[in-house]
């Protein structure tokens, strides 16, 4: 029996992309809906997420009927019509229920930021690249995560955005910033120490000079 109490040490990652695409409808529906949108969670590489994801729970705006949509098989997505933008929260349940659920939120975009055309129809697409991080997963999860059957690397043609470049750029930028902040802190600390010692030195000098020039009425020392 696989003991779920045992955990494999280490940090494991699975790259995903979540977001939504939306298109305006040709004609407004009688319930005032103007767009059709799909919110989804897709694997970044070519792999079946259902290997380790049991279900994805999409929480839509309460105005929608059954605003909690559970999707238990790929593709993990929800398509609906609507007129307004709101935040969709996605909660990921893993096959091993010992593992905590991961959740993320996405602000559904109907008008911005990216527009391209598919034939005649404008399409709005807003996506986020993210990574599911597993810290010390259970043995079972580890098995599922390491299952490399049907796993192929990222296929750039299936994506609109240039993720490899973006990922590297942003990562590098943030690494730069972290390093810079570290450096500035240590440099400033050094400077402060130096200036303080200089101040002390001057004060000593002045005190001595003052004392030697002091009139018979000696001034109190601090």
């Amino acid at each position: 029996m696989s003991s779920t109490k045992d955990r494999v040490e280490g940090v494991f990652r699975k790259s995903v992309v979540y977001g939504n695409r939306a298109s305006p409808l040709q004609e407004k529906l009688p319930n005032d809906h103007t767009h059709r949108w799909t919110v989804y969670l897709r694997p970044f590489n070519e792999e079946p997420l259902s290997n380790f994801i049991k279900k994805v729970q999409f929480k839509l705006h309460p105005d929608y009927e059954n605003s909690t949509r559970n999707v238990e098989e790929e593709p993990f997505e929800v398509t609906e019509t609507g007129w307004g933008e709101f935040t969709v929260t996605m909660k990921i349940y893993f096959h091993d229920s010992a593992e905590r659920q991961a959740s993320c939120s996405h602000y559904l975009a109907l008008r911005a930021p990216e527009i391209f055309k598919e034939g005649d129809v404008p399409v709005i697409m807003k996506e986020n690249y993210d990574e599911l991080v597993f810290v010390n997963p259970t043995r079972r999860m580890h098995e599922l995560l390491m299952n490399t059957r049907h796993v192929m690397p990222h296929n750039a043609e299936r994506w609109y955005f240039d993720y490899p470049r973006l990922i590297i750029e942003n990562q590098r930028r943030m690494a730069d910033l972290a390093e810079q902040s570290d450096k500035e802190v240590s440099e400033l600390t050094e400077s402060i120490k130096l200036i303080a010692s200089k101040c002390a030195a001057i004060r000593e000098k002045l005190k001595e000079a003052d004392n030697s020039k002091a009139a018979p009425k000696a001034l109190k020392s601090d």
Partner: protein, 581 residues
């Protein structure tokens, strides 16, 4: 009569007067007659009060005094004189306004004009419509008169009653009893009456105003009045509380507005005050750098009072240094230390828990360097680095505050040192404010970012922020709270950050930012300016734009739609500090 005038004119003392003759007829002006019966008049009283030898004429005084009000009892006597009283007799009378010939009695004055009962003329009667059967028939056809359940008989009855009771509707309604007729309310009766009245008048060519009786309105009005009059105690109390509540709400709103206005005023006042403070700091910085010689005559004055070794404002450099040295980064929050599964974005977005006061600053700096663009790409490393970056932002602010305070303190001490005749070694250049304001280049030299020192506003140390623990080492005094700045004092420079849309396209990366001398020339002014808000910087910016272009600055860099277009500023020779090396 003449006598008084003579006395008046000549100003003869009235005590010399002989008493006048027998009581005269009352004249308009009474100057000094003695009243019969020994009553004193005003002059006598005045004379009594004044000592005789003062030489004041009592008449002068009396003429200033007004006459006392007349005694009305005497007045009527005077008015009506001593004629004998007129006689009255008890007798009968009739009232021509009455129709029943009632005879009553009352007092009549003998000798008065006989005539009709005087109040009979007030008996004004509102005329009621009179119509013949033929007229009525016409009305039935022509107007709405026929469209109701009122028969002619009933209408006649109503008119008769109205006539009888002088159109006093409550009475009419009470007495109204048409045999076998339906129940009629007061308003019904009135409506019918006025309908008929108006119709008859119209037929006869009456051009004046109509009765204007609005049945619906009357019913409504009476109902409202009834409800109003017969409110219960509970309703009254309820109304009272509601009115009180309304007053309270209005008062609260008013006070809130007043508070807001006051807050605005305070904010403006603070800015004005801070500008004054800023001037002082700038002057201090100028003094530190300028090579002006001190007045030789005053070195002793500088040294002798011991107070000069203590800095103005009460903070000594040790406290400032300790404030900087005890600055600690926020410990990473433990999303990732437990065994867990989570999105990297959850880890990157970690909120800093109890460090609420630091949040706005952290947010502002983060957004400055890393504006939100889509698509976001958050990997695990990204999350780690982002947390590390954000944990140190407030440290930079504290360190900057300590550093700048120490710099100005050092400058002040160096002045004293120079005045005392010593020479001082200048600070090595990598420990000056200018150095820290410069942009920073990454290790591989490929990318440049503005220094955090440049961007982050300082948090200055306060007097009681440091205390010493058991080991004699300085620690932060937890009870003194630090106010971190909430905003940056600058908007984003256009050249460093590509616009949101540009970043997403499958296009070549944006051009690397030109390495122009943009801000270092203005660096020395920064310590003052940045510490205290940015209200005057927009104005200053525009001024600088003009001057830069005058000197012939390099052309404008790529301007994104978001930030304001600011040309890169060239070195301005008038600066006190040396240009970037």
């Amino acid at each position: 009569m003449f006598r008084n005038d003579v006395i008046d004119i000549l100003g003869i003392d009235s005590s010399e007067q002989t008493p006048p003759e027998a009581p005269r007829r009352p004249t308009k002006v009474k100057k000094a007659p003695k009243r019969p019966g020994g009553r004193k008049n005003t002059v006598d009283y005045v004379r009594q009060l004044l000592p005789d030898d003062m030489g004041i004429n009592p008449l002068d005084i009396v003429s200033q005094i007004g006459e006392p009000p007349a005694n009305h009892l005497e007045l009527s006597f005077k008015k009506f004189g001593k004629k004998p009283v007129r006689k009255w007799t008890w007798g009968q009378f009739t009232n021509s306004a009455r129709t029943d010939g009632l005879v009553l009695n009352h007092w009549k004055r003998i000798g008065a004009k006989a005539g009709d009962y005087p109040f009979a003329q007030l008996n004004k009667r509102e005329p009621t419509p009179s119509y013949t059967d033929a007229v009525y028939k016409v009305l039935m056809d022509v107007s709405e008169v026929g469209e109701s359940d009122w028969s002619k008989e009933e209408t006649d009855y109503l008119v008769k009653l109205a006539d009888e009771y002088h159109l006093t509707w409550p009475v009419i309604a009470d007495r109204y009893d048409f045999p076998n007729g339906p129940k009629r309310s007061l308003d019904d009766l009135r409506a019918r009456f006025h309908l008929v009245d108006d119709a008859v008048k119209f037929l006869h060519g009456y051009k004046g105003p109509s009765s204007d009786f609005n049945y619906e309105e009357e019913v409504k009005r009476k109902r409202q009045l009834k409800n109003y009059i017969f409110r219960t105690q509970e309703q009254l109390e309820e109304e009272k509380t509601i009115v009180e509540e309304l007053d309270r709400i209005r008062k609260r709103d008013r006070e809130f507005l007043i508070g807001k206005r006051r807050a605005n005023i305070e904010r403006i006042a603070k800015v004005v005050a801070s500008q004054r403070v800023r001037k002082r700091v700038i002057l201090a910085a100028k003094k530190a750098s300028s090579s002006s010689k001190l007045n030789v005559a005053s070195p002793r004055r500088l040294l002798s009072p011991r107070l000069d070794l203590a800095p103005p404002g009460g903070l000594d450099f040790e406290t400032m240094a300790n404030f900087g040295l005890t600055s600690k980064p926020i410990k990473k929050l433990a999303v990732s230390t437990k065994d867990a599964a989570y999105f990297a974005s959850e880890a990157a977005d970690v909120s800093f828990g109890q460090h609420v006061s630091k949040q706005p600053l952290i947010r502002a700096v983060y957004d400055y360097y890393y504006p939100l663009t889509f698509p976001q790409t958050i990997s695990n490393e990204f999350a780690d680095n982002s947390t590390e970056f954000r944990s140190k932002i407030h440290c930079i602010s504290e360190l900057k505050g300590a550093f700048m305070s120490l710099t100005s303190e050092l400058a002040r001490l160096e002045e004293l040192e120079k005045a005392a005749g010593f020479t001082s070694e200048p600070l090595p250049p990598e420990h000056t404010v200018q150095h820290y304001m410069k942009d920073r280049v990454t290790e591989d030299g490929k990318r440049t970012y503005e220094s955090m020192f440049h961007i982050v506003p300082p948090t200055f140390p306060m007097a009681d922020c440091i205390k010493f623990n058991n080991n004699g080492l300085p620690v932060r005094n937890a009870s003194s709270s630090i106010n971190y700045p909430k905003e940056l004092s600058r908007t984003r420079r256009s050249s460093t950050v590509p616009s949101a849309f540009e970043q997403q396209r499958l296009s070549p990366p944006p051009p690397s930012p030109p390495k122009t001398v943009v801000h270092s020339a203005k660096a020395p002014k920064r310590p003052g300016r940045e510490s205290l808000g940015s209200t005057s910087s927009p104005a200053k910016k525009s001024k600088n734009v003009v001057r830069a272009s005058d000197i012939g600055a390099p052309p404008m860099t790529v301007v994104s739609p978001k930030s304001e277009g600011r040309p890169a500023r060239a070195f301005r020779p008038k600066q006190l500090f040396s240009p970037k090396k």
